[in-house]
């Protein structure tokens, strides 16, 4: 029997770590990417990577607490076993990256240094200067290059994944892809295909993501029948530098190192910020969230910054929304050592030195928590069973998804520095299962009938030719992309309203129709970036629609998804007994909402082009959901009431010994 062969699409952190593990296990890997893998989007990550470490451990930290922070930060919208497995693996992953030569910052004694990121009270984040993602990616790229030299990995760079190839039983047998230089099509038979294609920020036009983050690969899998989970959960990063071509991130580490967010108390105060006295500055995050201060979780920071500019009218500038992010109280030397790279970015693009002048920043689309629905095998200890073929498998057997393009780890909101961990973890962890699955196949994909691949090839060639031949259409794909981006940014980011979402859905359908009339300005068949871009724009519509529809249907607030109409305000009463009463009502409402909405949104591509939405229960068997009370007025009273209820519930359970297992059914993506 031939060697198992696996096709990995995407060479960011997730794709590279899967490739490395698979090659190590003796699998032959084809590694494909739109850009040379070393230029993947993961290089942009600046801040760092989370894990429990020897220092935090001595301060009382545990893997369990990391799990707790992650699910609490994600508003409990993720199955807990995979997250548990990930946080358990955290220390091992950092150790591995350390061995691979990542130049993590060091303490004077030569240990890895850590910093604190949002949503936790521990310094869990290891970092390498201000280019942690670049350093991690390079370390993996180097290992994969080593395997390439040994002939175990074959790279296909400047290639575009067009569709998975499914056999009559619905199993994925490979893929059809296109060479971006010669524009030739090719079928890749494989025992398994792993998508590691990153986020879909370009659906929002401009974001903090790189130019290849169009979501095209994921959309194509979705259109071929793969289920998509939690699409409406899109993280908007609180601090980005507004730009014409891209919204460049100002990493959370700027706040982690002590950066303070403020606005002048006088609207649009024209003075130089350095001349505004302390008393006339409003440090609104510190004021409203004394415990976490500037390091509140992202969704909250984002909404507060958005609100202070829109609702409170305190934007620094009059005709452009922004607030100050101030580092000027920190010694230059410290800033250069700890934040050098990211400060250079600001300086490079804004022409102002952030070490001496407060930066101007505003939120921007940053991360897709949602992604392809993937499965997992729960282990006896409540984690994920290593080597199980269904780990990270999409609803199409044989097709896997890892990294930012899966929906698995971050629930309704991702904590800073948790993504690099989930990417490397899902890549390393899925490999043995993928291998086991390919070994168990009756027939290897290479021996599958040729007809299957020929048909898929023909389909893609026809789509391509039809696009090139489309003459006389007067629509421009670049304009349509801009319009789509503006629309999505307006209605489906920080604040969501049903009327707007509903009408935006219609607008997207119209844009999609107009896209059908795009005519290309390049009809050649050599390095035709025009047709590749046009295809990717076409594939954004299914994603935009499932985001909008998911958001429209979800009538609650959870993590990054915020609807004013469903908000649960804090406690208005001041008199203790009235407060308690309100807190009881608040908790009733919270419980009802949990029953109704603590479910993953599952979208499937309908034959009519519209998403079919269903909901899936979530395994919260490890940590029972509890209200997220960051900064809520009367939060302490609610917490008290909540804890009492929990105690009662536990006591009741203890009395009936045959209480049913609290684990909810998982698996089937219905």
């Amino acid at each position: 029997m031939a060697q198992p062969r696996v096709l990995v699409i995407g060479g960011g952190l997730a794709g590279l770590s899967a490739t490395m593990r698979l090659a190590e296990l003796g699998v032959e890997v084809d590694l494909m990417s739109l850009v040379p893998v070393k230029r993947s989007h993961s290089v942009c990550a600046q801040g760092g990577i989370n894990s429990v470490n020897s220092l935090t451990r001595q301060q009382g930290d545990t893997e369990w607490k990391h799990l707790d922070d992650t699910v609490y930060g994600g508003d409990f919208l993720q199955h807990q076993p995979p997250v548990k497995e990930m946080t358990d693996w955290g220390p091992r992953i950092i150790d591995l990256m350390d061995r691979l030569g990542v130049p993590f910052n060091r303490t004077p004694e030569g240990f890895r240094d850590q910093r604190r990121f949002g949503g936790t009270l521990y310094k869990r984040t290891a970092f390498a200067g201000a280019t942690t993602g670049q350093q991690l990616l390079y370390a993996l790229d180097e290992q994969v290059r080593r395997f390439e030299v040994e002939g175990k990995v074959k790279k296909w760079e400047f290639w575009d994944f067009l569709q998975p190839v499914l056999d009559s039983s619905g199993r994925c047998r490979g893929a059809v892809c296109q060479d971006l230089v010669t524009m030739q099509f090719r079928a890749f038979p494989a025992d398994a295909v792993i998508l590691a294609t990153g986020g879909c920020g370009l659906v929002y036009g401009r974001s903090t993501m790189s130019m290849v983050c169009t979501g095209s690969a994921v959309s194509r899998a979705y259109q071929s029948g793969a289920a998509y989970g939690n699409g409406e959960f899109i993280q908007v990063h609180p601090t980005a530098i507004p730009g014409a071509d891209k919204l460049r991130l100002m990493s959370e580490s700027a706040r982690g190192e002590g950066g303070r967010v403020w606005v002048p108390r006088a609207p649009h105060d024209p003075r130089d910020p350095r001349e505004i006295p302390e008393a006339e500055r409003y440090y609104f995050l510190e004021d409203r969230y004394p415990k976490y201060g500037n390091l509140v979780p992202r969704d909250i920071a984002t909404r507060e910054i958005f609100d202070i500019c829109t609702t409170d009218g305190l934007s620094v500038e009059k005709d452009r929304l922004c607030v100050y992010l101030d580092l000027t109280h920190i010694p230059r030397e410290t800033l250069d050592r700890k934040l050098g790279g990211i400060l250079e970015i600001y300086e490079k693009f804004q022409g102002v030195d952030p070490r001496s002048v407060p930066m101007k920043i505003f939120p921007a689309v940053h991360y897709s928590m949602g992604g392809l629905w993937v499965d997992y095998q729960r282990s006896a200890s409540g984690g994920m069973e290593e080597g199980a073929p269904k780990n990270q498998q999409t609803s199409l057997p044989g097709l896997y998804a890892i990294g930012e393009c899966d929906y698995q780890y971050h629930g309704a909101n991702r904590l800073g520095a948790n993504s690099l961990l989930s990417c490397i973890f899902s890549g390393l962890f899925c490999a043995p299962g993928v291998m086991a699955a390919s070994g168990s196949l009756r027939t290897l994909a290479a021996e599958e009938s040729k007809g299957l691949f020929d048909a898929a090839l023909r389909r893609q060639e026809e789509r391509h030719e039809a696009l090139l031949a489309r003459r006389g259409g007067n629509e421009n794909p670049y304009t349509i992309h801009n319009e789509l981006g503006d629309l999505m940014t307006r209605v489906a980011t920080v604040v969501r309203r049903n009327e707007q979402l509903a009408s935006a859905y219609d607008d997207v359908c119209q844009l999609e129709e107009r896209w059908q009339r795009c005519s290309l300005s390049d009809t050649g068949n050599w390095t035709n970036q025009n047709v590749v871009f046009t295809k990717s724009v076409g594939d954004m519509f299914p994603l935009a629609k499932l985001i909008l529809k998911g958001a429209l249907l979800r009538d609650e607030c959870r993590g990054a998804h915020y609807k004013p109409s469903a908000a649960m305000p804090g406690i208005a009463a001041t008199e203790p007994s009235a407060q308690r009463l309100e807190a009881e009502e608040w908790c009733d409402r919270f419980e009802a909402n949990t029953r109704r909405w603590l479910k993953s949104t599952i979208a499937r591509h309908g034959a009519d082009g519209h998403p079919q939405i269903t909901y899936e229960d979530i395994d919260t068997s490890l940590i029972p959901p509890r209200p997220r009370l960051y900064g809520l007025v009367g939060g302490d009273v609610i917490e008290e009431v909540w804890k009492e209820r929990q105690r009662k519930a536990t006591a009741a359970q203890a009395e009936s010994p045959r209480a049913t297992d609290s684990a909810l059914p998982v698996g089937a993506a219905s």
Binding site: K38, R39, C44, D98, A139, E142, Q350, Y478, T527
Partner: protein, 294 residues
Amino acid sequence: MSRSHASAGTSGADGHASPTAGTTVHVRVLRQDAPAQESYWERHDVPYEPNMNVISVLQRIAAAARAKDGRRVAPVAWDCNCLEEVCGSCTMLVNGRTRMACTALVDKLLEENPEEIELKPMSKFPVVRDLVVDRGRVFRALERVQAWVPVDGSYDHGPGPRISPEQQEDAYPLSTCMSCGCCLEACPQFTKIEVHQRSGESVEQLAQRRDEAYDDGFVGAHAISQAVLFNNHPTGKMIADERMTALTAPGGIQMCGNAQNCVAVCPKQIPLTRSIARAGRAATVWAIKKLFDR
């Protein structure tokens, strides 16, 4: 466009009149439709916007798809990804100088030359199309010097070696090399190698012949610097000898004429001449050691 926008640009303050809305940026692009074809100049006019970079200029050109004379033309092809100078994709010759298009700000370029912006593909790599070149040789050089830490594998063996802050600060800048190729474009010793497919030759045969040709050429400053990086890593140095063999082979460090052009153009300000000097010293020591080992 408001005044504050104009002064946010880099000129303005020092008396230069910053372009404003309504102004046009003139761009001249050296195009080439495919390998082995003639190149030709094409002019484009793009409306000025504050804070523009060369990428946004190219995006406007792609969207308009019309040359200055009104002819419908295919969009200019170019490479980019991160748009924040960390992926190494977008290297090109902007106003004659090798640099990253994403950090080439229009305001600054117009200070250099108020008449127009000139865009050309890198000259040391085969043109694929327009501003897109084939930089496979950059990565091939990393294979030549075995730019990796030879770990046993991905199984858990505890943390890596203890490393002092000084060592980390020494290694980190070298580790930020994004394989952009600017240092190679500027290097007089690094000359273009272009291998064309022969009739009847398979893709694999071509790739092999190309790699062999690359391996005869100068390995380049970036690869020398990577060799220094790994030879100074506690585990990386376990294969230092193999790297030294590569560095002292034909096309190795002895080809460097020490012109120092490389360090001047590296967008990451990597201390390349320092790396080259370190590698040179190590090569001398190594040659002597080898002499005695015989």
